[in-house]
Symmetry: D3
Subunit: 69 residues, 6 copies
């Protein structure tokens, strides 16, 4: 199965904390990766983003899914 | 500034493609990382997730933000 | 009220499970629907997506809202 | 591959519109489905949600992914 | 219609920029508001969040919907 | 640090409710703001959106992050 999501990182589950409805899963990624970010043109301009810039990619943990073979 | 988002990955901008409204930014992450995923307890059970499992963390690129000092 | 969200599916609540902060709500959709997905051009190309393709639409449950008259 | 996302709907691509960065994909779902929504306990209370309620499930199209075998 | 989304801000459209697939809409909110944020317990602890703290609420623009009567 | 997210609202924490995994944080925004919404061109057309329209900006609380200096 191929998925449209551009960011698929291989890793290993390190910890799982379970609540009544939600769970917090820690996954150790096994190799560095390229992350794809879709942001507004306006943001690229406001940040003056250009190739070579040192940046952080930021992702809210509620946006991360987990897949297992 | 400290942000509540659990996933903050240091990297370098490798490519930027700009459209009328949106942009596609490629960021090379410079070191392996731990990813935090908040998923339902139901998903943990349906997938039989446990520590040590080989998994993929999947993130839609529209959910990724970029920050620059 | 008209909402910009392109996916509005009529249904009936089948089950509600309540935790301290979050709830898990099951809604049985009463008729088949057309789903709108906004994905990158890059994904359309990588998947070779074209009309007539059999696909799955995938949605994380934290992204679903519920409205009631 | 099993994915943590609770909502996976089988369908057929009916139309694809492609822009510089993003694409709009229409998928006809082939059978009625149960949708899982994770909302706050506060919302369940404010809406007075209970089993049997007629509701709408609302999903922004930027939150929908597409997978193909 | 009542919606489960906790953040509904009244405002006026100030500008619309239209691309091939997406649009950038600027809405001037007409009164200060209370924002509800669902974040992890882990984040509350890591940030040492408590009542009275001066903070910023941060929202990616792809997560904002627009409704009109 | 500058972030690509277009919506950054200054405020004060009014209440925090903590569960096993998630927390519900109420933030009082201290001044009216302009909100940026990225929606489909299709939605702008279906809603007949134009400058001067009275609208609501709607945001699911799971999409809100919190930052603190």
């Amino acid at each position: 199965m191929k998925i449209s999501a551009r960011n698929v990182f291989e890793g290993e589950v390190k910890n799982i904390e379970i609540g009544a409805i939600m769970s917090n899963v820690k996954i150790e990624v096994t190799s560095p990766e390229v992350i794809t970010a879709i942001i507004t043109k306006e943001s690229v301009e406001k940040l003056g983003l250009k190739e070579g810039d040192k940046v952080s990619a930021i992702i809210k943990s509620t946006e991360v899914m987990v897949a297992k073979d």
